[in-house]
């Protein structure tokens, strides 16, 4: 159901909407005052009630993640914000950092208090210079007001926040790679366990959360956890509140739209996105960043034995509300909730080619199945495009991708394999046409 909200985006079109005065005029820094008057346990309970599913891609419940942090420990605790935003098709966190940075700063304060940390690091990819600038400016404003430092808001809970920069590596968005990078090392993912809540940044208990996950937390303390959760039509799926939806590719109005959870792909593409460019037909859509499977509009939802799916069974996947568990149950993934739309004028084989080149380039190389598998698939798809591949090699793509799944240190492996499996399954005919005709294609282009 399409229901626009403005919890994060109220400042997006205001002049100087990113300043502290604009933020406070809109009710900012009320939530943190309320949170600091509660106990740590009460803060976590409130966040649990809000049913915020992690906005970084994995969709883990935010309050539950916070509750994994040790109650007592002699080591310091850290909150680390994942602002690496590198998943192809994803451009939502940047809007928060550039246009509403105080929401993230206030969220960090509440998060730190909730997990028992006194410092937060915001790990921003280096390319986002304006984001870093706006965040530092917001931190300085908050320090000057006495909201950060030894005695925030006159209380005794010391807090500070720092911006840290990456240096260009998609894999640093993976949380343990990000921690290594924060520590000044190569950004290679770590074996888990131990999990960050036990052994995270600098060997200390750490919570890693996405920018948007944390930026929405102040709203929870403003409107109340329960009320926030119930904004969503996916409340029965424990998927609460409102979030940012992105849409890019072949739509008339690409962009970031804030809505209550429960929005469908059809609403995102046609109502918010304005429909397909040139009024063409929709060929395919990737629901939430390139690591998700690609879908065709004529796929039908069928999840028997789960009454929650009754309203959706028999309908197109375009009419299934975008939620973490709704999409997981149909063999897909919600990811970052930023859809990539392709019209029927484009060649899906070239889209597959574009993506495997990305994954081969970004694999950190620690695990053989990922490093070699991505390279191998890329070589085969290169041959497909050049018209020199065989049908057996198309089957090989499926086998190689299947062998990556579950056999790697980090989830990059699945993120690379899933889209390849989906392209081979849904565009088998187009791939075979390439093979059979020695590289001829209907359109041979990606742009309209």
């Amino acid at each position: 159901m399409l229901q626009r909200t403005t919890y994060l985006s109220h400042s997006y079109n205001k002049p100087n909407g990113w300043s502290l005065s604009a933020y406070e005029a809109a009710g900012g820094y009320r939530g943190v005052r309320r949170a600091l008057s509660m106990t740590r346990e009460q803060v976590i309970d409130e966040v649990k009630k809000a049913k915020i599913r992690g906005r970084g891609g994995a969709g883990f419940d935010c309050g539950t993640k916070w509750s994994f942090m040790p109650k007592e420990s002699r080591k310091p605790h850290y909150l680390v914000i994942n602002a690496d935003e590198g998943e192809p098709g994803t451009f939502k966190d940047r809007t928060i950092m550039e246009l509403n940075p105080h929401a993230l700063i206030e969220g960090c304060m509440i998060g730190c208090y909730g997990i028992g940390a006194h410092a937060a690091y915001i790990y921003v990819r280096d390319e986002l210079h304006l984001s870093k600038e706006r965040l530092w400016a917001a931190i300085k404003e908050a320090r000057a007001k006495g909201y950060l430092g030894k005695t925030p808001f006159g209380g005794g809970y010391e807090l500070d926040i720092y911006v840290h920069t990456g240096a260009g590596a998609y894999i640093c968005g993976e949380e343990t790679a990000l921690l290594n990078s924060l520590e000044g090392k190569r950004g290679e993912p770590r074996l888990k366990p131990p999990f960050p809540a036990q052994y995270g940044a600098f060997g200390c208990p750490t919570t890693v959360n996405n920018v948007e996950t944390i930026a929405i937390v102040p709203t929870v303390f403003d409107v109340g956890g329960d009320a926030f959760a119930k904004l969503s039509t996916l409340y029965p799926f424990n998927d609460g509140g409102a979030r940012l939806f992105g849409v890019s590719g072949h739509v008339k109005r690409p962009g970031v739209y804030e809505c209550a959870v429960g929005l469908t792909l059809r609403e995102l593409i046609y109502d918010l996105g304005g429909g397909i460019l040139g009024d063409r037909k929709l060929m395919a859509v990737i629901p939430g960043g390139s690591s998700c499977p690609v879908h065709l509009p004529d796929e039908i939802v069928n999840v028997p034995n789960d009454p929650r799916f009754e309203p959706y069974n028999g309908k197109s996947i375009l009419d299934l509300p975008l939620g973490v568990d709704t999409f997981r149950n149909v063999g897909s993934m919600l990811g970052t909730c930023c859809a990539i739309v392709m019209s029927d004028a484009v060649d899906p084989v070239l889209a597959m080619h574009n993506l495997i080149r990305f994954y081969r380039h970004e694999s950190c190389g620690q695990c053989t199945p990922c490093r070699e598998g991505c390279g191998w698939i890329e070589r085969i798809v290169n041959k497909v495009v050049a018209g020199t591949a065989t049908r057996e090699e198309l089957d090989q793509v499926h086998d190689i991708a299947s062998d990556i799944m579950g056999n790697t240190i980090c989830a990059f492996g699945e993120g690379a394999a899933q889209p390849m499996l989906a392209f081979v399954k849904r565009f088998r005919k187009q791939l075979e046409d390439y093979v059979d005709t020695g590289g001829k294609s209907q359109t041979h282009r990606l742009e309209l």
Binding site: P88, T90, H164, G249, I340
Partner: protein, 160 residues
């Protein structure tokens, strides 16, 4: 000549160190700081400097430098241009934008124009997919690009 930071950047380095529980964590920010002062590349001198400043081995610093694409291990042009070519941008014509840049600058992606003004590169998704096609010039994003806009930007760079 051995590498050294300006007085202002030395102060910034102290600022950076104060943010972390140990010196190693300052490695990436300090490398950025040095690279900026060193005409945008990390020379062997820079690596030695950072290693000394942060009590790290040169091997550690080199390992970091080689992992991240934004540390240049060779000299680069006065300006750097990155054209994003990942899927959302490709769907909006990034191939055309890149081809135009190559033609206009007379060099391929990965190379520097003959006058030494511009190093042209491709980038993977820069979180601007809703305003594709796009490119980054030094620290600035240019979005919703047209060929005419690219011409204006590149002309400005080659005149600078």
């Amino acid at each position: 000549m051995a590498f050294a930071l300006s007085a202002e950047r030395e102060r910034e380095l102290e600022d950076i160190l104060a943010r972390y529980p140990n010196k190693m964590a300052a490695c990436i920010p300090v490398l950025h700081l040095c690279q900026e002062q060193n005409q945008n590349w990390v020379s062997p001198d820079v690596i030695d400097f950072v290693a000394r400043k942060l009590d790290l081995s040169a091997a550690h610093v080199k390992g970091v430098v080689t992992f991240y694409t934004l540390f240049n291990q060779k000299p680069v042009g006065k300006h750097q241009v990155w054209v994003c070519r990942t899927l959302s941008c490709a769907l909006r014509g990034s191939d055309r934008i890149l081809a135009h840049c190559e033609k206009k600058l007379g060099c391929h992606a990965g190379e520097t124009s003959k006058d030494g003004k511009v190093t042209l590169r491709t980038a993977e998704c820069l979180a601007s997919c809703g305003t594709a096609p796009m490119m980054q010039v030094d620290k600035q994003y240019y979005e919703n690009l047209t060929i005419e806009e690219v011409d204006r930007i590149l002309d400005r760079l080659t005149r600078s």
